[in-house]
Amino acid sequence: MSTATDREAALKKLDPLRDEIDKIDEELSVLIQKRARTAIELGKLKTRLSLPIMDLTREKQVLSGLTTLVKPGDGLTLDAMVSVFNEIIKACRAAQAPTKVAFLGPAGTFSHAAALQQFGKLAFFIPCDDLARVFGTADENEADFAVVPFENSTEGIVGQTLDLMTKTGLRVQALLNLKVNLCLMSTHGDAALIKTVSSHPQALAQCRNWLALNMPGAELRPTVSTAAGATLALADESCAVIGHPALATFYNLTVMSGDLQDVRHNQTAFFIMSRDDSPPTGNDRTLVWFSAAHNSGSLYKCLQPLANSGVNLTRLHSRPNTESPWVYLFFLELEGHFEDPKVTDALKALESQTEKLHVMGSYAAPSEERSLKIQTGTFAADI
């Protein structure tokens, strides 16, 4: 009996508590909106001063300020508070910038540098752990753009990007060339203390000669990204990192040496992907992929119609189809926009020769013609 009345009394207390939570939520919402308005105000000021919207040091300061606010016995642990504030910071940062860009993170990678070059400091950047997530973030509408590495002039094609391109619904919007400038960075800048050099394997490979000459005894430690190398360098003063100079800004490192890459004209091409097509500019490239089985002269039969319609070929790559042996995917870049009648006809002719053809989109030809090893020759149709 008494339990029933207790329950009655407890139930009565429920409503006032709920009311209180509603009131607090109201206050919180007003406060968060106030924070957002202040952030937008701050964003405008940053724009005028051309400072980056994404300021990792400041965001870290905000989060570390929580340590003094959280006391033992509080309802939420520090970790829980940090994750709540992370979401608030992210939302406020997004409110400062209209464009959301996914890239292969963390901050300070070459993909980040490419994204910065394309969208400026004012975009909202979403670092992703792997390429599949970069595509996925934009595919699922959480980002407006995805920045993906496509080809390095010395190390070659990024196969994973090509593989993911066959699975995405995104369109290629732009091609961006980023000159690779690799720097050696550490917390202190004293070369004598360095025993290991950490970085992404491609970055280490691109500096092979420099490392052999200048740091012959150093242990090379490959990491998943240049930024992961920077974290190692932050934690250990005998460790230096090789990467883009942007890393130094984001991780508070000192640049010890610059331009380490063995090949002077080393550059990486990035694709900017989104859900929309870009309109013709008059000097465009179109990217398509198609699949063909390895029969006698199968690639020849696919390329011949292009030559017949006078469309110039600027890139050609092939990837094996992992599911069936002797079947291949080809990635082809050609001159012109896919809306050009000449290109449309050529693609129609190509389609009739292939098992599957997919147009990835068109984009403006890079202004300074890339220093590719391919020399763009015209088809010698007159012989």
Partner: protein
């Protein structure tokens, strides 16, 4: 140095004094020399196959064939941009335009390029595109060309002249070595005899004679020698068996439309079957074709040729 023992041909008494081809001779360099091309080495256990069209014609042909031979396990793509034709009215090649197409094909496939240089004036141009410079049979005794090539840093593939004895052939190689280029690959491609049933007579026994006398790697070109596509596969197997270090084979993705030597070109399908066959045979002769490691047998296609 002078008590060099040769294996095999027992009655031939070992020569006491150095032959006229001193640096080329095994007497001065008993162990096999290797020509390193980065991805692989010619003259070692790898049986190196160079394949491609006789001449570079246009992008679709060059890229299509390059990719076909790459998938079939070839190591090097061949193709002529300068063509030494018996008649001045035959197709003479595309010159630099052809070299650009070859370098596009290298970009697509990652294969190295071997291409012919006919004139001293073109050496710098060809060297800037090619990975191996080829000297054709008709230039095999063009000593001024050989002298210029001896100063090149790229390897030279020297074909045996139509009328050259083995000694004359090795003397031609000596021009390259004497000038400082040690990366020389020899190529037996058939000689002129009274026989007319084949285009040239493939002198397979010369591979043995050459191997006995020199440390340089030797490859065989069965396509030019026989002039008939259907003879190429059996002669290729014979070249592997006789101890050649590799092959140079003509492959054209569309032989019936080829501008040059179409009748001796293999289709990509025949070439692929030959390569799979050679891969399986190679271990019996102490060789391997590592480019086809683990490649599945191709499902038989229902195509004509």
């Amino acid at each position: 140095m002078s008590d060099e023992k040769t294996t095999g041909a027992a009655p031939a008494a070992p020569p006491k004094k150095l032959p006229p081809y001193k640096l080329t001779s095994r007497m001065t360099h008993p162990e096999d020399s290797l020509v390193n091309l980065g991805n692989f080495v010619i003259g070692g256990p790898e049986f190196v196959v160079m394949a491609g069209p006789c001449s570079v014609e246009h992008d679709p042909q060059m890229l299509g064939t390059a990719w076909d031979v790459k998938i079939s396990g070839a190591h090097i793509i061949r193709g002529g941009a300068f063509k030494p034709r018996s008649s001045p009215y035959s197709f003479q090649g595309l010159a630099e335009e052809g070299l650009k197409m070859l370098s596009k094909a290298r970009e697509l496939t990652g294969l190295s390029i071997v291409t012919e240089v006919m004139d001293s004036l073109d050496i710098d141009l060809v060297e800037s595109y090619a990975d191996i410079l080829q000297v054709g049979a008709r230039n095999s005794q063009n000593f001024s060309l050989l002298k210029r090539l001896s100063k090149c840093r790229k390897p030279v593939l020297l074909k045996r002249g139509l009328m050259n004895t083995v000694e004359e052939f090795l003397c031609s190689a000596e021009y390259l070595l004497a000038g400082g280029n040690e990366n020389v690959i020899l190529c037996e491609r058939g000689i002129r005899t009274f026989e007319t049933s084949t285009r040239n007579t493939l002198d397979l026994s010369s591979v043995l004679a050459i191997k006995e006398r020199t440390h340089l790697p030797v490859i065989v070109d069965p396509s030019h020698a026989s002039g008939k596509a259907r003879y190429v596969a059996p002669l290729s197997r014979a070249a592997l068996a006789v101890g050649a270090d590799g092959l140079m084979i003509e492959v054209h993705c569309s032989p019936e439309t080829a501008l040059c030597d179409g009748e001796e070109s293999l289709t990509p399908e025949v070439f692929r079957d030959l390569m799979l066959n050679l891969r399986d045979l190679a271990p019996h002769f102490g060789r391997k074709i590592s480019t086809l490691n683990g490649a599945a047998e191709h499902p038989k296609t229902v195509s004509g040729s």
